[in-house]
Every structure is written in structure tokens, then in C-alpha cells.
Amino acid sequence: MDEDFERLFKRIKEIERNLREYIEDEFRRAIGKFREDMMHIEGMLAPMWHYEGYLRPLYSIVDKGSYYEIYIDLPKADEQSIDIRFRGNMMYVRARLKEEIGFSGLSGRGGETKFHEYREVVELPFNIDPQKVRVVAKRGFVKVLIYK
């Protein structure tokens, strides 16, 4: 009889653990999705330039298993001035433009603002060890490899 109860309790505990893990997983997924949507909405509403004279570059992040591959598009940037720094899980990108650029001829938006550099802050899902990072710049693109 005791053995039967023990088996039953063990089973109940197992179901309870599975249920808790399932709820935690679902909750984590929902928060992740919500965060992604919020970041997207934020990104959609944030212009790709700032009136103080900087541009925001396009970038992409791909999880390659043992490392992350980040590509940053920096057309017209002076390759010597590309400055990528890391703090915690943040990557800070700055690069001067080869020449000042204005949008006045292209669009009424942006007015007389002259742009002189790129600036971006990229949030990654883990803390970055700067010792485990490799940066390659070519043809106005930057490839950043961050080993996990």
C-alpha cells in the first residue's frame, strides 16, 4: 500500500514539475515575443537619423551555434574610424562618415541637418567577453564575430 502511495506521489510530483516547466517556458516565450514586438514597434517609429547629425546603420544578428555573426552596413564610413566597444550585453558602434552628408536635396525631412557619423547601440541576449570578439571591415560593411 505504502509503495502504491509513494508511486502515486512520485507521479504527481513529476506532473507538477512538468506543468511548472511548461508554464515557465510558455511565459518566457510570451515575454520574448512581447519584447520582440515592442522592440520592432520602437524600431519602426525611430527614424534612421538624428537631428544632432548622426545616422543609424542597418544591422543583422545571426546565431551560428558557437558564435553570433553580426553584420553592420556602414556605407560611406571611414573604415579607420570604425569604433566598436562592448559593455555587459551591449555593443556600441560608432564610425565617422568620409564626408558630411545632407538629405536636403532628397527630402524635406532632415532639413538642413548635416550628418557626420554613424551611431548605434545593439543589445545582445548575453554578456560579451571582448577577448572573444573578432571584427572584420570590408567595402563599407563590418562583420563582428562574438564567440559564446
Binding site: 519602426m44 545616422l55 542597418l58 556605407p75 560611406k76 524635406g108 560593411f141
Partner: protein
């Protein structure tokens, strides 16, 4: 707004013509909608500029296109613009219609091009490759809907798209144009997925130039590649959400049965 000569509502889309559109034969239509690396959009933009095509019409929708007015030289234009000159008609948009609207738009365009008596339709696009950062000699693949369209490619050195998956705007256009029996050529040049790729566009333009038998210089496009990438950042950013919704990532996948 430009003066409207003809207005036609089809479902939730309206097609406007600012003057009668008469094309010489053989006539070619180039369709450029935002997709992989904005390859089609940049190709069409350069062709319009180089061949000095004039704006002859537009397409709009209050349901499937963002509530946008394009202002160019102080004049309001539709989000989808139509340009023509001699035997070329270009349908150009930097804005991606909502996914549900793409099917309607594909059907409407097929019907419109059929009624215009277009002989050939060219779809310049890109196919994403993971190592685009390293690759300098880009390959171009093609898909055609008819043997008549295939004939046009006999003097080119591009490769047939043998096996794989296509997703998104051009996949839908190709399906609808095939159903409408339009002689269609889809050009897929290796490109970035998420960054504007003028080099891939230049490769497409060189092939289009051979197909239509008109010289279109890409020297300026290549010299201005970085400036174009810089200008196209907003259009690319706006396109990315649509590409993700259309599961563009399946193009990297290998089909099980070929």
C-alpha cells in the same frame, strides 16, 4: 497630383493613367517591388533614370498599401508608380503591400499587363546567400514561365534555377504571371537579404540590357553604390518586417524532394 486621364478600380486597388500608354513592340514590362536586398527596386530605379522614362500612371489601395503619399518635385504620386518610354513599362514601388494584398496585386498586374499586350515581363530580384560579405563575383539564376521567354536568354551566360524554394513577392508574381501565360523571366542574382545591394542590381541590369537590346550603363550605379546603400536604408528597414512575415528564410532551405 498629376492630371488623371483614366481611372480603373479593380477590387480594393485603383489603377491610374496620366496619359494614354502606347508601347512599341516587342514590349517589355519590368516589375520592381521591395524584396531581397531591394535588388529589384534599385535595378528599376537605375533603368528609369538612365532610359529617362516618364511617369505615366500609378497604382494605389486604401486597404492594402500604407496610407502614404509620395511627393516628388512638389507633386503627389501614388505609392506604386508606373513609368514608360518606347517599348518599356516599369512598375515601381518602394513600399510593400500587406501580405493579403500581394495576391490581389499580382492578379491585377497580370490582368493589366495582359490587356496592355505586353510581350515579355522581367522580374529582377535577388536570392540571398549567407556568405555575401565574402563573395564578389555574383551568380545570376533564372526561371521562365514559357519557352518563348527562355528564347530571350540564349545569348546570356546565366544559370537556370534548378532546385530550391522561392518565397515572397516575386514567388507570387511568378505564379500569377505563369497562370496568365505571360512570357515572364525571373532573374535572381546572389545578394544580401537584409541590406540594399546595388552590386546585385547592376548584375541584373546588365542582363536586362542584353535581353531588351538597349545599352544601360551601370558604371555610375557601381560608383554610387555606397551612396545608394545609404539612401536606401529606410526603404530596406521598412521591407524587413514584410520579408520576415513572408518567411523569406525558407529560401535558405533545401527541399526534400526535387
Amino acid at each position: 497630383m498629376l492630371e488623371i486621364y483614366r481611372e480603373e478600380w479593380i477590387g480594393d486597388f485603383v489603377i491610374l493613367e496620366y496619359k494614354p500608354i502606347e508601347l512599341q513592340r516587342p514590349s517589355y514590362a519590368i516589375i520592381s517591388l521591395p524584396d531581397t536586398g531591394l535588388v529589384g527596386v534599385i535595378s528599376a530605379w537605375h533603368i528609369i533614370k538612365t532610359l529617362q522614362l516618364s511617369e505615366v500612371g500609378g497604382v494605389d489601395s486604401y486597404v492594402y498599401l500604407p496610407p502614404i503619399v509620395v511627393v516628388s518635385n512638389k507633386i503627389m504620386r501614388t505609392p506604386i508608380r508606373v513609368f514608360s518610354g518606347s517599348n518599356i513599362l516599369v512598375i515601381y514601388s518602394e513600399f510593400m503591400p500587406a501580405q493579403q494584398g500581394l495576391l490581389h496585386l499580382s492578379k491585377i498586374l497580370a490582368n493589366y499587363l495582359e490587356r496592355k499586350g505586353i510581350d515579355y515581363v522581367l522580374l529582377p530580384s535577388g536570392v540571398p546567400i549567407q556568405n555575401r560579405f565574402e563573395v564578389e563575383n555574383l551568380k545570376t539564376y533564372y526561371l521562365t514561365t514559357t519557352s518563348k521567354a527562355l528564347e530571350l536568354l540564349k545569348d546570356t551566360d546565366i544559370l537556370p534555377f534548378e532546385n530550391g524554394l522561392l518565397a515572397g513577392t516575386y514567388a507570387l508574381l511568378l505564379k500569377e504571371f505563369s497562370r496568365a501565360k505571360l512570357n515572364t523571366i525571373l532573374l535572381l542574382t546572389e545578394s544580401f537579404l537584409e541590406f540594399p545591394d546595388p552590386e546585385a542590381s547592376a548584375k541584373n541590369i546588365n542582363i536586362i540590357s542584353k535581353i531588351i537590346g538597349r545599352s544601360i550603363d551601370v558604371k555610375e550605379l557601381l560608383e554610387q553604390a555606397e551612396a545608394i546603400r545609404l539612401k536606401a536604408r529606410d526603404a530596406m528597414k521598412n521591407t524587413l518586417r514584410g520579408l520576415a512575415q513572408m518567411r523569406k528564410d525558407v529560401e535558405y532551405a533545401v527541399p526534400l524532394y526535387t
